[in-house]
């Protein structure tokens, strides 16, 4: 019986050709717009508007990049984005690991209630209250500053949930107790034992925080006023307003603002995929 099932099973289990066709089409659909961004960002207007279109990059990239920098302080914008996204990424990773550690391993009155509150806050659609948020920022005198983007971005209810799960799963109570018996304080238990173990999970969380902050648009668009404070996304919008200068201008800006993320994704995208695959829905 085994002799008849084994070959049959292998045949039924093989990957069909159309699976690769389907995935190939999906891959092209995902990558083509970025490729096209690069094409238009490197050609002059006349070439970019010619039909049939050019499919190889032109040599106009430096000229366009120069125009971008002349039109808005784009290098400053990229730096602003880098500062905001890095601060939010690292801040979220550390703050959520701390809070996740407290909820997973420390005993204190109100722990379960407070954790429930954290979970519930995930359902509050904060983006709808941009008007009062703006009023608060102007009370604080934070309008047109980068901390108006960074500080609110540090709180992540999902991040606490995520870190708590990882800490519960990977660090045993015995380990924490053993460290305490050896005289370690709570802070030492966190920094010397818990954080090193869950650093990969905190890294993935920080990565998602970085990407989200880098790409955020609505809130920076509301709160940033002067071009020197723009993040890269707002600078793209400003470039679009000066469309008459060159058709490829906004495209070059988009390209310049996307390259850092593509590099990051090539380096660490594998971790992001793994992060989603082991996300909150599996357990």
């Amino acid at each position: 019986m085994t002799t008849t099932t084994a070959p049959r099973r292998r045949r039924l289990d093989r990957v069909r050709w159309w699976t690769y066709l389907l995935l190939g089409v999906a891959t092209v659909a995902c990558l083509f717009p970025l490729y096209w961004m690069f094409i238009v960002a490197t050609t002059d207007t006349a070439t970019a508007t010619r039909m049939p279109p050019e499919v190889v990059p032109g040599g106009n990239f430096l000229h366009l990049a120069g125009l971008v920098v002349d039109t808005v302080p784009f290098v400053q914008s990229l730096l602003n984005s880098l500062v905001v996204a890095t601060a939010i990424g690292i801040g979220q990773a550390v703050l959520c690991a701390l809070a996740g550690f407290a909820f997973a391993k420390l005993r204190f009155p109100g722990r379960n209630t407070l954790f429930l509150v954290v979970v519930l806050t995930m359902t509050v659609p904060t983006q709808l209250s941009v008007i009062p948020q703006y009023l608060i920022m102007s009370e604080l005198g934070w309008v047109d500053t980068l901390q108006a983007l960074i500080v609110p971005g540090l709180a992540s209810a999902f991040g606490i949930f995520w870190m708590r799960q990882h800490i519960s799963a990977t660090i045993s109570d015995e380990l924490v107790q053993a460290a305490r018996i050896d005289g370690a304080s709570t802070g030492q238990v966190f920094w010397r034992i818990a954080f090193p173990i869950v650093r990969p999970a905190a890294f993935v969380l920080g990565l998602f925080g970085f990407v989200t902050a880098w790409n955020d648009f609505l809130w920076p668009f509301i709160v940033l006023k002067s071009p020197e404070r723009y993040t890269a996304q707002i600078a793209i919008k400003a470039l679009q307003n000066s469309y008459d200068v060159d058709l490829g201008l906004a495209m070059s800006g988009s390209f310049l603002a996307t390259v850092p993320l593509v590099v990051l994704f090539v380096l660490a995208g594998r971790r992001m995929v793994a992060g989603i695959l082991e996300g909150a829905f599996k357990g």
């Binding site: 701390l98 005993r107 659609p125 540090l154 695959l277």
Partner: protein, 315 residues
């Protein structure tokens, strides 16, 4: 999953020795560790959220007076054709983006789950590329691709004899354009969420079905789809809440009249309408009323989701 919340662990008291070692200091540091979240969320999340309801009751000019007018903003909103237009556009764009996105994600997650797939990591990473691309950059590229005169899509359509379509200026065209951007950005992420859920189905289930003669379609229809039900409902809810907040795409596609997304508001969404009233017209009160309306819609969707998922559990 939530071991520390379960009654079992709550009932079991910690060994007395731990209690002695972990004393007041532990409690204090625990509160210190969770305090940053509660302070930040309280000041920049919860308080503005509650404050929205208050501001909505005023004729609130940020550089002038604040006059209490009761529910006048809401009365005005219900009689405002611009509000209903934005609501209609939002629903239309939501439907055009959610349905293809979820169907595509279902199919792709199913084929990505194949045990013997080669280059699996490459495909998984590729579909996540749109997610890391910013909405602003996405909008710039897609507007160019869909351009009436110089766009690749219209050039291709022209090859088969179709007259150039002015996507941005037409209602359906602009909705389609925005929905394409939203779908492009999110289908890969949704695919990976579905894949995560599919991976918890034992591989032997698929193998046994194959041995029993179930073809690819039957395995998709009778194993993958039913096991994904909870996560499908979850993604419908998140994509709906996300759909209500679509803002950047419509702002960036109609360069002539960005705040209304075109001269006749053909693609103005509710969040863009909120922005136009708040920061274009400086009607903070009226803008907040739109925010409250959006919140009511989010709650309604969450409630609908709850009803649906309890019914599915009962099945």
């Amino acid at each position: 999953m939530t071991a520390t919340l379960s009654p079992a662990s709550r009932a079991a008291p910690p060994p007395p020795r731990t209690k002695k070692i972990a004393g007041v200091g532990e409690r204090l540091s625990a509160y210190a560790y969770i305090a940053p979240f509660f302070v930040i969320f309280g000041v920049f999340g919860l308080f503005p959220f509650a404050f929205t309801f208050y501001v909505a009751l005023f004729d609130w000019n940020p550089i002038g007076d604040q006059v209490f007018i009761g529910f006048d903003n809401f009365t005005r909103m219900f009689g405002d054709p611009r509000f209903w237009n934005a609501a209609g556009n939002t629903v239309s764009i939501w439907a055009l983006s959610t349905v293809p996105q979820l169907l595509l994600a279902l199919v792709l997650a199913h084929v990505l789950n194949h045990a013997r797939l080669r280059f699996a990591l490459f495909f998984r990473m590729s579909v996540l590329v749109p997610y890391v691309t910013s909405v602003a950059a996405t909008a710039i590229v897609f507007v160019q691709l869909f351009d009436r005169d110089y766009g690749l899509l219209n050039w291709l359509l022209g090859l088969v004899g179709v007259e150039p379509v002015d996507f941005v200026q037409s209602t359906w065209g602009s909705h389609l354009l925005i929905a394409t951007m939203v779908t492009w950005r999110w289908f890969g992420y949704t695919t990976l969420l579905y894949l995560a859920s599919l991976q918890s189905v034992p591989r032997s289930v698929f193998e046994a079905a194959a041995i029993d003669g179930a073809g690819p379609w039957q395995r998709f229809r009778h194993i993958s789809v039913p096991s994904l039900r909870p996560v499908i409902i979850f993604t419908v809810v998140t994509s709906t809440i996300g759909g209500l907040q679509i803002f950047t795409e419509p702002l960036l596609i109609a360069t002539g009249a960005p705040l209304t997304c075109g001269a006749v508001r053909q693609c103005q969404t509710l969040t863009l309408f909120l922005y136009e009233q708040g920061f274009g017209q400086f009607e903070f009160g009226y803008g907040s009323a739109v925010g409250v309306a959006l919140f009511v819609m989010v709650v309604a969707i969450a409630a609908l989701n709850y009803l649906l998922s309890t019914r599915i559990k009962a099945d």
